[in-house]
Symmetry: C2
Subunit: 105 residues, 2 copies
């Protein structure tokens, strides 16, 4: 469940969000977007939790990989649906992971 990312430096995209009550298309699109992200070059992993507030963090090798993922056609459509229907608020943060540590890995 905790993403097994490589040695730093790498990038993290933190997507913090609050949902509307609209369920239509949300679950299917979420699953689809995870599969699509996994297939992108430079994708390193993902962590996702929701309990009221939702936080999804995807990890990437570099900024170019993030840029390409943001512009991926189906993802662009999902982002638009997100703004129009599924999210009442969100914040996306593009982060350079400078250092990490933990256990057992």
């Amino acid at each position: 469940m905790i993403a097994n990312t490589p040695a730093t430096p790498y990038y993290a995209v933190i997507f913090s969000n609050m949902r509307t009550e609209i369920e239509e298309g949300y679950a299917e699109t979420s699953i689809e977007m995870v599969s699509l992200a996994e297939a992108q070059e430079g994708y390193l992993g993902q962590e996702s939790v929701r309990d009221g507030l939702g936080i999804t963090i995807s990890y990437w090798a570099n900024l170019d990989a993030i840029r390409k993922w943001k512009q991926q056609t189906d993802h662009l459509l999902a982002q638009r649906m997100g703004r129009e229907k599924w999210y009442s608020a969100y914040k996306t943060r593009i982060c350079l992971v400078e250092r990490d540590y933990g256990f057992p890995f």
Copy 2:
């Protein structure tokens, strides 16, 4: 619930974790650590969610603020209890937030 952080750049500390079944002292210490963090110089906000996987992200003005928070006496004790009792796994990632965007803020 989504932290209202200032203009970039600033720092994020992503703490991804899995809990053991030991509850003793955990809830009280969590509440205490949030209050303590809020009182630290350079603290900018926090987002926290758990649903199996736990993700807590704290935001900071600079690396020096993060260093001081990591070394704060009560926080050092909480970190030790965390490793020994409360967490079966965790990863801490120190991140420079280079860019952010969202709505409504």
